[in-house]
Symmetry: C2
Subunit: 270 residues, 2 copies
């Protein structure tokens, strides 16, 4: 059975117990063994050591896997480290750097295997974006959807059927996420604020943790979009997107496309 | 068991027996019942009737499913037509129009179901691009990869692990396909020339038919790319892509990433 995914919107609280990082380590089990992959970062060594300190304080055994070349991503010793871990943490930085380094390599295979055997995979900022099958590579800020506002690329493919964006409220990214969903309204867009995360269980049930909001855009009820006729950087029409702003304790079922709330037994179903 | 996919590079021979369209109808069986979906086209009615005439002459029973709104794509009667068919043909036009109309609707679900029960799904030009999970939405021509050269979007998701491009030699599209693969080198890029198609069987074994070439780009052996550092429209470095130009009778195994040839028993394995 697949494991648990924890995309985090970046800038997560690093003060210790009771935060998103502690929840990740808890999920990794009593014998938590965490691999940190800081490859997305432009300062991978510092970032790796920072998270090593944090996760060690939280009680995990920690390995930092340094990957700066595709040859290193194809190193069987590095892949073997993942085979011994219960969880993986992908740092922030640049998701295109991360995926273009890892794609098609032994380390990427080992990450898939770890997930398939029930491992916990968390990623913050760029690391969150990279979890999804259809990854936002880069884009422009702004509140309204427009042509060429978002560049998609194949991600690591662990989170299916969703497009994950981060620093969401802080960087005004609802326009680009709406554009991404309009291309193919079967997708569910997930926008994670800073210090906010979604815990996605193997059955597609998600729970919000942290201090901000998770914005969920369900495209399947769209009645109309003109995305195929918009030229250059024209604004695009999108009508009938179904949107939820969810806070800590709320949840969302990716298969049933329904939200739930801590103070209400009934679901807001589609 | 999944069915067979036939992406066609556009401008296919419409003269009758012995061509790509005849191969499609043959694969649809003795009791071929073909649904034509001309929704990608800007002249859907004319295009639908043209293919209706062709497939009728080739011996198939034919239905044209007209879809110009998302409400029509959510019409259960239209979805029910697909349930009675052995094959589907997606016309050319604009793949973003096709996918933004169908994504998340009953017709898209019925297409998935038809494929899962062994149906034959062919698409030409825009219809070919739309078959893949990671779809080229649009892009620029040119022989060398560059940043922002290709815009990807979630496609219909029938062809996994590949990115399909069309009118490939005729519109000089190798640069944009290479750019798409460089984002995540686990992908296999497939560039279809006009009047050329790939017949992809449920086991991922593909055979080339038609008069041109199929270009296959296997990114998994990439030694280096700087796609994450290239700015604006800069050219990008891509080193170690493994490329095949395959003609009629040649084949390619998407899982083993190996080509084979009609006059050679041995495979060119990776």
């Amino acid at each position: 059975m697949n494991g648990v995914l924890i995309p985090i919107g970046g800038a997560e609280d690093k003060s210790g117990q009771g935060n998103i990082l502690a929840s990740f380590v808890d999920l990794c089990g009593d014998q938590a063994r965490v691999a940190i992959i800081p490859a997305a970062s432009s300062m991978p060594q510092q970032v790796g050591e920072q998270y090593r300190t944090l996760f060690t304080q939280l009680g995990a055994a920690v390995e930092v896997i340094s990957i700066e070349t595709r040859a290193e991503a194809n190193d069987s010793a590095r892949a073997a480290v993942l085979a011994g871990c219960t969880g993986v943490f992908l740092s922030g930085g640049d998701q295109v750097k991360l995926v273009s380094l890892l794609g098609g390599t032994q380390v990427a295979d080992a990450l898939q295997q770890l997930f398939k055997r029930g491992g916990i995979i968390a990623g913050t900022s760029a690391g969150a974006s990279a979890l999804s099958q259809h990854m936002i590579a880069f884009g422009r800020s702004g509140g309204a959807p427009a042509q060429r506002m978002v560049q998609l690329a194949p991600g690591l493919g662990l989170a299916q059927g969703v497009i994950i964006d981060q620093h969401f409220r802080q960087r005004d990214r609802i326009g680009r996420l709406m554009t991404a969903v309009a291309y193919n309204p079967v997708m569910i867009g997930i926008g994670l604020d800073e210090n906010t995360a979604l815990v996605i269980d193997p059955g597609g049930r998600c729970e919000v943790i942290g201090t901000g909001s998770v914005t969920v855009i369900d495209g399947s009820r769209l009645s109309y979009t003109n995305i195929h006729t918009a030229k250059a950087h024209d604004p695009i029409t999108v009508s009938g997107a179904y949107i939820h702003f969810l806070t800590a304790g709320c949840g969302y079922d990716l298969y049933r496309r329904a939200a739930w709330f801590p103070d209400l037994a009934a679901e807001s179903n589609r």
